[in-house]
Amino acid sequence: MTKATLKVTIDRGPNDQGAQTVFDVPAYDNQTVLDVVSWVQQNSDPTLSYRFACRVGMCGSCAMMVNGVPRWTCRTHISKVLDGNEVMIGPLRNLPVIKDLAVDMDPFFDKWVAAEGVHHGAATRNDPIAEIDVNTPSRVEANLGIECINCSVCYAACDTVAANPDYLGPAALLRAWTLLNDAKDEGRAKIMEAVSTKGGCHNCHSIGSCTAYCPNNLDPMSAIAGLKRETAKSFFKWGR
């Protein structure tokens, strides 16, 4: 279904007063959205800013809005998203734009830390390595969330994040839930506290865009539901 030329509209972000530039890009077989953006930068407009690294869906750098939908552009074939022979590419939603297609990921990672998405270890290098039974229910639950690549697609897809700047967002809460279920993590009390604050899991409206758009088919919405359940149980235990 190769068409000779693609009409690519790129959103240049707030620095250019929301200007959009239209490029004609030659179509190739097996062309990804990232290939299209790279072609524009290399052949048409060297001032175009965007971010990528691995090109194989591991690093989580290249997410953008494609026809209004957040996607990992290195693993998205342009043929799957074309509207006729046209496509609209913009910077990720819900994050400040630095320039063109590059967004500032700081708020996303700051919230990751605010949700206690860090390792809380108690063992030292002198302790033996803890044996983990991979079949325990908590390990199975933790395994469901460990393939997150921090691409921020779920964060861009989330309407609660859009309306509620305090909200920690799906990725950070999925990480918190994963650590809560990790037998090697000793931060249970800290995590429970962090996800129960004013920006915590209780602000989620279960709209489900995170789960619908996650490129790795993870399920942050169910993880957040798990956090709601655990915190609700602790509410009665501690009488908080």
């Binding site: 309306a163 509620n164 209780h202 602000n203 609700a232």
Partner: protein, 110 residues
Amino acid sequence: MLNLRLYMLQRITALLMAPLVLGHLAVMIYAIQGGLSAAQILGRTQGSVLWFLFYGIFVVAVAIHGAIGLRAIVYEWAGLKGAALDVFMWVSGICLFALGARAVWAVTFA
């Protein structure tokens, strides 16, 4: 904007309201079947501890549940923040309670 305490209060009041709403609807449908007058209805509710508790609990649950829900809506849709958001929640809750409590009192012990 919603912490664990507000979340739990809203869920617990929702649990309380579920049977109360069903009871309220059932009573309304039942009461008008035979064409009851206002005086006949008042005759049943006045001095009744049962109806006072039924609608009294209902009003308290509605005031708490509704105020927290309105808080979420005005925060996300109107951008109200900080102390103004708390004031809005409390005023909404107190108004809802006052409106409901006045009616419950009027048909039971006034």
